[in-house]
């Protein structure tokens, strides 16, 4: 029987997770294919929650489907769209359907998404959401009322090692761990020397830390992220490497870079694992793992 994500975290093995985005609509065919392809190649699959504030099939629905297919889901929950009643209710629902892992996020701004006039909520923040999970686990809701049947989760949160400035981000990171985060996924990292410095700071806090890996698909994508995505910095040498790839071979170059980074993170024990975000190219995750020479 496959191990739970928590068991893998506690085993000390190099943890490998990947991301799966539910569809815009109810055609779950592609999502199901990605899950089938990846569920036995990674330790757990993250299901995104209206990523980039774009309305989609819910992360909870995707997580339940992964569970039903015999995979290990990590339910992403943002604080953007639900108040504390709805978040707690969804945690009860998730537990009742066997979803055991939750990644707590603040959530992107509504105004970057596809429903720009919607009301944003942020009734709780990510550290408060982690504490909410720990409170529910004690058998009480946030109002102090007793639950008839409790919950148990492996709770995680995120950090952005390339945030600018970094110091306020690190204080938030520490608050998330104090709140009870057992694992931390990072925003995509590319400069592994810089990431090693971050890890020297972060390791003593005890949470398992998984380095975020976003698959580069072109030099233009790398430049776009540098310009537009806060907390992501692709060094010039990697952009040059992508740009130097022969026509039609950029994706292969990106897979090679991702594989090389994962290999180094594992060999040099830079982190406890990796979280692979092959945005829109989920079917390439096995190729990345092959390039890295890692498997479960």
């Amino acid at each position: 029987m496959a191990r739970t994500f928590k068991e893998v975290l506690e085993s000390g093995d190099f943890v490998i997770t990947a991301e799966a985005a539910p569809p815009k609509g109810t055609n779950l065919g592609h999502f199901r294919q990605h899950v089938a392809l990846l569920k036995d190649k990674v330790h757990a699959l993250n299901v995104t929650d209206h990523q980039s504030s774009v309305m989609r099939y819910p992360s909870l629905g995707g997580a339940i489907m992964i569970k039903e297919m015999g995979g290990e889901p990590i339910l992403q929950m943002t604080c953007r769209d639900r108040n504390r009643l709805a978040l707690q209710a969804d945690l009860l629902f998730a537990h009742s359907r066997g979803v055991a892992n939750v990644l707590c996020l603040t959530g992107d701004s509504i105004v970057v998404g596809d429903h720009k006039t919607a009301k944003s909520v942020f009734d709780l923040d990510s550290s408060q959401l982690v504490r909410t999970i720990r409170t529910l686990e004690k058998g009480y809701d946030l109002a102090g009322n007793q639950l008839d049947g409790g919950v148990k989760f492996c709770a995680g949160a995120i950090v952005t090692p390339e945030a600018d400035p970094i110091e306020p981000q690190l204080i938030k990171f520490e608050k998330k761990i104090e709140a009870g985060a057992e694992f931390i996924q990072t925003q995509a990292v590319y400069d592994l020397d810089h990431f090693a410095e971050f890890m020297a700071y972060a390791r003593p806090f005890g949470a398992k830390i998984m380095a975020g890996i976003i698959l580069l698909t072109s030099a233009a994508m790398a430049r776009f992220m540098n310009k537009n995505v806060p907390g992501i910095k692709v060094p010039q040498d990697l952009i040059d490497e992508m740009a130097a790839a022969p026509k039609g071979k950029a994706l292969e170059a990106g897979i090679a870079i991702a594989g090389r980074m994962i290999r180094r993170i594992k060999d040099e024990k830079l982190a406890d694992g990796v979280h692979i975000m092959a945005i829109g190219k989920e079917d390439k995750v096995p190729d990345i793992l092959d390039a890295a020479g890692v498997k479960l």
């Binding site: 603040t106 701004s109 105004v111 942020f122 408060q128 952005t160 981000q169 938030k172 806060p230 907390g231």
Partner: protein, 217 residues
């Protein structure tokens, strides 16, 4: 001094609100909207021209001193005739002014502006939102900078991952509140305040609509 910050409605929106009205009286204000150049004397004059170009009749116009205060008898009397012959008032003040004037003149009102926020002039012509009247002031723990107002997401336990060079992910012209708070607290050697966990906030300190009775009144 705090100011009510407004912006003009789009012409298409205003024209649609004015459908069915022919005779109009225009009201501006000498306070906030004069500063923001959205409802002062020049804007009221321009509105008269625009209304004429749309085929409306303008029975008169005025720029009252402070539209959110009760208007004096003198003002009401001075414009009584022109207001009486108008079917509606086109009001170029913030929404506080619109409500006051609607009550005092007893006429249908058409707001020409949208009220954005309560702000303070931080540099010539630049206005920043300063307080969202949350009923649970946190400024003592943030060095006097309000994250409930100044953080796009209203976060109270530190920044999200969207800080870019100390600016907010949604607009490079907007400061990241938590970068400002960090720097301020650091300068006072008070970063322990930022490390302190802030529990979920009370969003119903004064349930809407707000009402306050001063003691002994």
């Amino acid at each position: 001094m705090i100011r009510s910050i407004t912006q003009p409605k789009l012409d298409t929106a205003l024209e649609s609100l004015l459908e069915g009205y022919t005779r109009l009286f225009v009201v501006g204000c000498g306070t906030c909207v004069t500063l923001t150049q959205t409802g002062g004397a020049p804007q009221v004059a321009a509105m008269r021209e625009r209304l004429l170009s749309w085929g409306k009749m303008v029975t008169g116009s005025t720029v009252v001193p402070v539209a959110c205060d009760e208007l004096s008898h003198e003002i009401l009397e001075e414009h009584q005739g022109a207001v009486a012959s108008a079917e509606a008032l086109v009001i170029m003040t913030c929404a506080f002014g619109v409500q006051t004037i609607a009550g005092q003149f007893g006429k249908m009102v058409v707001p020409a502006l949208d009220t954005l926020f309560i702000g303070k002039e931080s540099a010539a012509g630049t206005f920043l939102e300063v307080c969202v009247q949350c009923g649970q002031c946190i400024l003592g723990e943030t060095g006097g900078i309000c994250p409930v107002t100044s953080c796009h997401k209203g976060l109270v336990n530190g920044p999200c991952g969207g800080t870019k060079a100390g600016k907010c992910e949604i607009d490079p012209n907007k400061d990241c509140a938590w970068t400002l708070i960090y720097n301020r607290l650091k300068s006072f050697d008070k970063l322990d305040l930022m490390r302190r966990y802030q529990p979920p906030r009370h969003h119903n300190v004064e349930p809407k609509p707000g009402r306050f009775q001063a003691p002994g009144t």
